[in-house]
Amino acid sequence: MSDLRKIGFVVNPVAGMGGSVGLKGTDGLVDRARELGARPAATVRAAAALRQLAGRPLRFVTAGGEMGEAALDAAGIAGYDCAYRPTLPTAAPDTRAACRAFLERGVDLLLFCGGDGTARDVADAVGRAVPVLGIPAGVKMYSSVFAVDPGAIGAVLPADGPLRCTDAEVIDVDEGAYRENELRTVLHAVVRTPTAPGLVQSTKQVCEEADEDRARTAIGAFIADAMLPGVLYILGPGTTTGAVARHLGLEKTLLGFDAVLDGRLVGADLNESTILALLETADEARLVLSVIGAQGFVLGRGTQVCTPEVLRRIGPGRLLFLGTPGKLARTPLLHVDTGDPLLDGAFGPYLQVVTGYGTAQRKRLGTRPGAAQAPDRRR
């Protein structure tokens, strides 16, 4: 938790262009988007966010032209340091190279403007070295690193005092499948992102919910204590399922599916066929999943692992869902999309999500991300 002094700032100039012309993403389709009349909007959104930081004693390290300079100029922020000059047109390798250059200059935070694709590139370059925060400008923003809107950046970053951070998932969405209305989400990386306790004030009142790490540890201890002998536990990706393994003293792959039986690791980084093979040997199994991403996925299709076949073999009633209270507070609805509507229906209108040692919450299931919510009766 260091004070925020130097910010690395990068813009994906073409982010969001595909969305405005109905392309559901811009990966590999920039030219097509331009032909359809799309105009770059990322710089405008980035400048709107930066204006809230103008006047603060911050130093910016950025990339040339549309990759950063233009937005800083538009926001009236001078005296920045340009650490990377891209060759036009810019592409994903430029984002990664710029981020690496920023790290060499000792930035305290990486602020980027783009969508899930940009988040992926930033995460690849930065990892967990410094916190990452996204100004939303993409077509898809399923990752948890984005501020709710550009106007929230000023509130998320404290004007003084240390930066408080939490873990956030960067989600990989298969754009080809997405265009076919199929949502394939894979956890790509876990980075650190600033938290804004002031923006979730109602949950803040309840002190048990203050600390994500503490909650994860409690969830991990509870699930580990509740593990039954002779039952095969398949732990999905994420840091919360990771806490279960940690409590057992096991090394779990962060992004993969691992299996535990009687306190021992019996399979790591599993795929559908290795899971099915393991299920052959076990009388009973549980699948332990965490709530992933900003949209509250617990089960997205195409993880290559949680196929309808695997889910049927385990049984929909034998899934355990984990999520910290902070995560659930930011996630109004959860989503299940197994690729089999019949199976999706088996989960009912609510899921129980374990949130601590011996505690849980009931969360409503949405049908599809972005689908209309049930009418709000609180009006």
């Binding site: 509870f222 699930i223 204590d225 949130t355 011996g358 009766r377 609180r378």
Partner: protein, 452 residues
């Protein structure tokens, strides 16, 4: 159209009703926490006065209310019984809904009904200070009010989650001259032990009870007072049900369903025991009695019926009751008064025997009912009371489906004027629907070594 049904002050009950007299077999005795043998009056005498210990054990059907106590109860009793016509019309139900309103007491809830006699009996026996715990702050403010009338000191250990959520409750206690500390504190060994394990704990009633009991046991001039659970507390609360039965009789009614929320069981016992007695003695064998608890802390619906401690540290006698385990720290729901791992042994017994039944409800559904009630009947209920309202509405809606014209009676235990922050959270959409992971908890408990 009569809306309020009143009794005269002279019609106030002069005797409490003790349902122990009408149970088909005696209650299982409380056990000494150290020896495991049935607790004797001597085991309790370091923290309770002799008369309350007698009332705890007695099987006499009625216990006289001292005149000095009646005199103070007159400040707000008899409490009104309302016919909730506007709610009935809104629900388009053929059911007739009545509710007893206990929010007219100075502290705003049913709690002073027992705080006053407890302070009185302690003062009679020379006690100068009472130590207690409080969840939502209702009990702490009630005891502060009561001790002020008998010139006693009062120390309140308030569950930290509530202390922070409801700052005005502690101001009330201060006005009545009591000292209020956020629990766990560093003032007691039990508090320090909890803080050492978990410095950021939100606290719980079980922890606060340990602190207050320890305070009382280690100071000669100090006794302990409990706001719920115990037999004598439920006994004192029976004025609610005794009055309600008279009030209903005055309009030729007798309830088909009696509903109250259950935390430790005293408001439930208060309204329900006189009717449960009618059921046990065969006068009204069909009256249905329903306890409503939070899904986050479902003691009666998902707990075990077993001997357990009343507190976290294991200082209280072990009681036979429904329990979620004395070390269970319920999630910080806004109905702080219902965050208790156990339940009154008598209420537990009635549920075990099928004389009463229990349901569990989720927090957002509770606040939805509270809003409906406030917009039809006017009173903004405490979140605890709103649990009973939720179920009363559910029964009334069921009547709409079946066409039955049931008479529903529920206890509206208090107003929610100090709980508006929880309403704010409800409107902000940030109230979690806490749940209880029953299977996992049973699996986790099965692995623990058996103790005692």
């Amino acid at each position: 159209m009569q809306t309020k049904i009143h009794l005269d002050e002279e019609e106030m009950p002069r005797r409490w009703y003790n349902i122990q007299a009408d149970l088909p077999s005696p209650l299982d005795p409380p056990l000494n926490p150290k020896t495991g043998a049935p607790a004797t009056p001597g085991d309790l005498s370091s923290i309770f006065p002799a008369e309350l210990i007698r009332q705890e054990m007695t099987t006499e059907r009625f216990v006289d209310i001292p005149e000095e106590v009646v005199d103070i109860l007159r400040l707000w009793r008899p409490s009104p019984l309302f016919r909730a016509r506007r709610l009935e019309e809104y629900l388009k139900t053929p059911a007739r809904i009545y509710y007893k309103y206990e929010g007219t007491s100075p502290a705003g809830s049913h709690k002073p009904n027992t705080a006053v006699p407890q302070a009185y009996y302690n003062r009679q026996e020379g006690i100068e200070r009472l130590a207690t715990e409080t969840g939502a702050g209702q009990w702490g403010s009630a005891l502060a009010f009561a001790t002020a009338h008998f010139e006693m000191d009062c120390t309140v250990y308030m569950v930290r989650a509530s202390y922070e959520q409801k700052p005005y409750r502690k101001m009330m206690m201060q006005v009545w001259g009591a000292q209020c500390h956020p629990s766990p504190t560093t003032l007691t060994a039990s508090g320090r032990a909890v803080l050492e394990k978990d410095p950021d704990t939100s606290g719980s009633l079980g922890i606060a009870i340990s602190e207050a009991v320890e305070d009382a046991a280690t100071h000669a001039n100090t006794n302990y007072a409990l706001g719920s659970v115990l037999n004598h507390v439920c006994l004192h609360q029976t004025v609610i049900g005794l009055e309600a039965r008279e009030q209903l009789a005055s309009v030729d009614e007798y309830p088909d369903v009696v509903i109250a929320c259950v935390g430790g069981g005293s408001n439930f016992g208060g309204i329900a025991f006189p009717f449960a007695g009618d059921k046990l003695t065969g006068k009204h064998p069909d009256v249905e009695i329903v306890g409503v608890e939070p899904a986050a802390c479902p003691t009666l619906t998902k707990g075990l019926y077993a001997y357990d401690y009343g507190d976290v540290a294991g200082l209280t006698p072990m009681m036979k009751m429904f329990t979620l385990g004395h070390d269970f720290v319920p999630p910080a729901i806004h109905a702080g008064g219902l965050r208790y791992h156990g339940d009154s042994p008598i209420v537990s017994r009635l549920v075990k025997d099928g004389t009463a039944r229990a349901v569990a409800v989720y927090q957002n559904d509770v606040f939805e009912a509270a809003q409906t009630f406030a917009r039809t009947e006017g009173i903004i209920p405490a979140p605890e009371a709103a649990h009973a309202i939720r179920t009363a509405i559910d029964v009334a809606l069921e009547c709409r489906r079946t066409g039955e014209a049931k008479t529903i009676l529920f206890n509206n235990t208090g107003h929610g004027h100090f709980d508006l922050a929880s309403y704010e959270a409800y409107y902000a959409g940030t109230l979690p629907d806490y749940d209880y992971p029953e299977e996992l908890i049973r699996a986790a408990l099965a692995r623990l070594p058996k103790v005692g």
